[in-house]
């Protein structure tokens, strides 16, 4: 996983709540068997509209998505995270994220930042007034800054450490292989098995 320490970039204000994973990446894109090449599928239906915020010339190259509440609801598809990353987003700010999407984002190095809605409103107004404004998301200091806006955010210490270091969960878990083996040895015999071994 790519490490995340701090990032500064221009923003895209997405004034919509309940942006579900079918909007982020429609199902027909999920047939791919790789983790890349999803950028053209990102918000595919909405991008057909020339006026959609992502299509505006002043938003090209923006890397910070500032979204409405309940971003990422719906399916468990990690493709939603890959699509945002493939497109070029490094971080997403919202007042509330769906659980599975949040977990997926943090496992891929896409930093999802929870801020109060009034701060999200302030960031929207700022970037709408001046699209060249840059927002900094600093994971070391756990702080989001932009002209006239300074907001602390929370992230549990363990997730933060893994992001800062770019650590892979599987190798961390495999350090505790003995604990797994010990647990397996005492599982009850009535637990089902899919294979007869």
């Amino acid at each position: 996983m790519e490490a995340f320490t701090t990032h500064t970039g221009r923003a895209v204000p997405l004034r919509r709540s309940n942006v579900d994973t079918d909007q982020i990446i429609p199902a027909h894109w999920l047939k791919k068997v790789t983790r890349d090449g999803f950028e053209d599928g990102l918000f595919e239906a909405w991008r057909k509209d020339e006026e959609f915020i992502l299509n505006r010339p002043e938003r090209q190259g923006a890397t910070v998505l500032v979204a409405g509440p309940d971003f990422g609801t719906g399916s468990s598809r990690e493709h939603a995270v890959w699509a945002l990353q493939n497109y070029g987003f490094k971080t997403v700010i919202s007042s509330r994220f769906a659980d599975i999407f949040r977990g997926n984002s943090l496992k891929n190095g896409l930093l999802t930042v929870v801020l109060p809605q009034r701060t999200v409103d302030a960031l929207w107004e700022l970037t709408e007034a001046d699209p060249t404004v840059e927002i900094t998301v600093d994971l070391v200091a756990r702080k989001v800054t932009a002209p006239g806006v300074e907001a602390d955010f929370e992230l549990d210490e363990n997730a933060r450490w893994r992001l800062l270091e770019g650590l892979d969960d599987i190798s961390i878990t495999l350090r505790h292989e003995e604990d797994i083996a010990a647990y397996e040895a005492k599982r009850p015999s009535f637990k089902p098995r899919t294979l007869t071994v």
Binding site: R15, R16, S17, N18, D20, D22, Q23, P26, A27, H28, L30, K31, K32, V33, T34, R35, A45, G68, P69, D70, T73, G74, S75, S76, R77, E78, H79, V81, R96, A98, D99, I100, G103, N104, K107, N108, Q117, D156, E157, N158, D169, I170, I172, T173, L174, H176, E177, D179, I180, Y183, E184, R187, P188, S189, F190, K191, P192, R193, T194, L195
Partner: protein, 474 residues
């Protein structure tokens, strides 16, 4: 202080607990399908890792599979590649697979329970958000992303931050004609699509205890639509009766030991939930959605709401967007909404009881002119059972299409899709924009409402059919 059901199951699966770290949980059952697994197997291959517990892993093909001409090569080359990739991965890593054409093939959340693999007190995961279905057995079951699929394949564990607990208590009895689907849609409308976020919901109370296992699966299935990762129902005699004799259910002394343990899986009387919601079952009625998220629903007797009636600005905006997308106007009675498609199926409502309920209303009636009705059984086993009972004939004689098992139009990854502007009454779980096909408009309904809607051509409840013809056996 006592513990909740969810806390008991969690505690029984802790492999490792350390200060400042998420608990490492053991996973009893890992279900796989073709869509969210290829990148996970790729990761294993790149790192020279194997599947740690092939005996706790099972795969089936469901999201991409066609429901017509299943004996012919799959027309869409991308879908075909994804299914072939799953077959290759399962063969290489030694994972049991039920491919298209196999008698145990079907929607992953229908297959697990019917094989008896889903049991009380287990941890069950799958790269699919509707894994919450399995919570109906008192299992802690939740959807995971592909990185976590890889993690479980490699370690049979998951590091998990703790959940909060929510009790949804449904007092009293559901009125006649009101189903588990109506109940869960009403619950989601009440707590909102984000209301369950961070929680495991335990459904309890008299109305829940009286539900069959299949109805309980419908309830737990849609927990995710309220934002909850998991939903659970305490196992009881209904659960044990469903399980006994199934292929993978414990046998002999193991059965007795299992039941003894399962009976302990109840929330203790002194346990405290982080949040509690109480619903009076007697106040419920057939429920349908009018918007583009599952929380945007109302009783069938109501009208399309006025966005101005919402006080929360983001809800108001969401309602405005939804009405525009759905082509509806505020104040329009929901019963007057005409549909062109009816879909009965999915992991929410694709089991035998759902098909029986829809067939009972269609027997001796016809699907309205201009309406296309698709009936897609949740699994091959469900299909075989339906054929044995003659339900397939009831559907085809009424003018509906009887298809092969799979996810089908629930998410339109196969050819079963709505065309732009088409409107469906669907027994599935999501009414998101474009979910059932680009530009398609979805109203979520119960199998009973789906059948009545198919006959009348507009959203309708079984009671509306009384003047069309008396249902058989009444």
């Amino acid at each position: 202080m006592g513990r909740t059901l969810a806390e008991k199951v969690w505690d029984d699966h802790v492999v490792r607990r350390a200060e400042g770290e998420p608990d490492l949980l053991f996973i009893d059952l890992h279900l796989l399908h073709e869509v969210t697994s290829p990148q996970a197997f790729d990761g294993l291959r790149k790192n020279g890792r194997r599947v740690r517990r092939t005996d706790l892993t099972i795969a089936t093909e469901d999201h991409n599979t066609p429901t017509l001409d299943i004996d012919k090569p799959i027309a869409d080359p991308v879908s075909r590649t994804q299914l072939e990739t799953l077959r290759k991965n399962c063969a290489e890593f030694g994972v049991r697979l039920h491919p298209l054409g196999d008698v145990e093939q079907g929607v992953v959340h229908v297959v697990g329970p019917q094989l008896g693999l889903t049991q009380p007190g287990m941890t069950v995961v799958c790269g699919d958000s509707h894994t919450s279905t399995h919570g109906a057995f008192g299992a802690l079951a939740f959807g995971i992303g592909t990185s976590q699929v890889e993690h479980v394949l490699a370690t049979q564990t998951l590091p998990m931050a703790p959940f909060r607990t929510m009790a949804v208590t449904v007092n009293g009895e559901l009125p006649e004609g009101v189903t588990a689907k109506d109940l869960i849609l009403a619950i989601i409308a009440r707590i909102g699509t984000g209301g369950g976020q961070g929680y495991v919901i335990e459904y309890r109370g008299e109305a829940i205890e009286k539900l069959s296992m299949e109805a309980r699966m419908t309830i737990c299935n849609m927990s995710i639509e309220a934002g909850a990762r998991a939903g659970m129902i305490a196992p009881d005699d209904t659960t044990f009766a469903y399980l006994e004799g199934r292929e993978h259910a414990p046998k002999g002394a193991d059965w007795d030991a299992a039941v003894e343990y399962w009976r302990t899986l109840r929330t203790d009387s002194g346990a405290v939930f982080d949040h509690e919601v109480v619903i009076e079952a007697s106040e419920l009625a057939p429920f349908v959605t009018w918007g583009t998220n599952p929380g945007q629903g109302a009783p069938l007797s109501a009208s399309v709401p006025d966005p101005a009636s919402f006080t929360d600005p983001s809800e108001k905006l969401a309602a405005e967007n939804a009405l525009k997308y759905m082509g509806l106007t505020a104040g329009q009675p929901l019963r007057e909404i005409a549909v062109d498609t009816v879909f009965v199926g999915s992991c929410t409502n694709g089991r035998i009881e759902d098909l029986r309920a829809a067939a009972a209303l269609l027997r001796g009636r016809k699907v309205a002119d201009g309406v296309r009705m698709l009936v897609v059984p949740g699994s091959v086993r469900v299909a075989l059972q339906a054929v044995e009972e003659g339900l397939d004939k009831v559907f085809t004689e009424a003018g509906a299409e009887w298809r092969h098992a799979g996810c089908s139009m629930c998410l339109g990854m196969n050819p079963d899709q709505l065309k732009p502007g088409e409107r469906s009454a669907s027994t599935s779980n999501r009414n998101f924009e474009g979910r059932q096909g680009k530009g398609g408009r979805t109203h979520l309904v119960s199998p009973q409402v789906a059948a009545a809607t198919a006959v009348l051509g507009h959203l309708a409840s079984p009671a509306d059919l009384s003047d069309v013809r008396e249902p058989a056996g009444v």
